[in-house]
Symmetry: C2
């Protein structure tokens, strides 16, 4: 867990090798689609997504950010915020296809604490 | 082209078999990331995304909506708004992986005109 309030939470995704700093922004209450939220809730959730994107950019300096809200398996609103690098397993493809190269051996990349601080400061 | 103003445009994506009603919302000016936009621009672009999502839901009644801003190949801000159906080629996986089943033969599904009307009314 990187950050939370009574509306949503930001977690570090640690089950995807090759993607340090991959974050997920998860709505606390249950809803399926962004257009199921009222305007205020939509703005509030996206504000958390932008703060997470900015924190990920500041901490990891990725070549590109990927954002996605899919939820086909778990239809509960959550946003993937994925720092992408030219050397990552799927670049330039989306991370959900077949890998083009192996994940680099785990480096000393533990961005959790820096992300937690950046999100605290942005809140 | 389904809709446009001086800020962004909504186009129907017709190069992805099995995904009728797949739309793309494209920023007119050049920017790479959402956090490169100011708050007003971010809100304005997302407002077009929500209108597109609502139009796609109203016209196609999908099982799920997928939203994504990737831009690894073309780093120019654009949002994919993808109506997903349990019988589509990749469900429940993201559309960017390997297909799990063939696209259904082209049906009489030409949602362009209905989407255009829905977006006009929402504008």
């Amino acid at each position: 867990m990187l950050w939370q309030d009574d509306f949503c939470r930001v977690v570090l995704v640690e089950d995807t090798p090759g993607y340090p700093g991959f974050c997920r922004v998860i709505l606390n209450r249950h809803a399926r689609e962004m257009t199921d939220l009222d305007r205020h809730e939509r703005d509030r959730l996206m504000s958390a997504v932008w703060k997470t994107e900015q924190a990920v950019r500041d901490v990891l300096r990725p070549d590109k950010i990927n954002l996605a809200s899919l939820g086909n398996v778990v239809p509960h609103l959550h946003w993937h915020v994925v720092p992408r690098f030219r050397h990552d397993p799927h670049f330039p493809n989306p991370i959900w296809g077949e890998a083009r190269r192996a994940a680099e051996p785990a480096q000393d990349t533990h961005p959790g604490e820096a992300l937690r601080k950046a999100l605290e400061q942005a809140a």
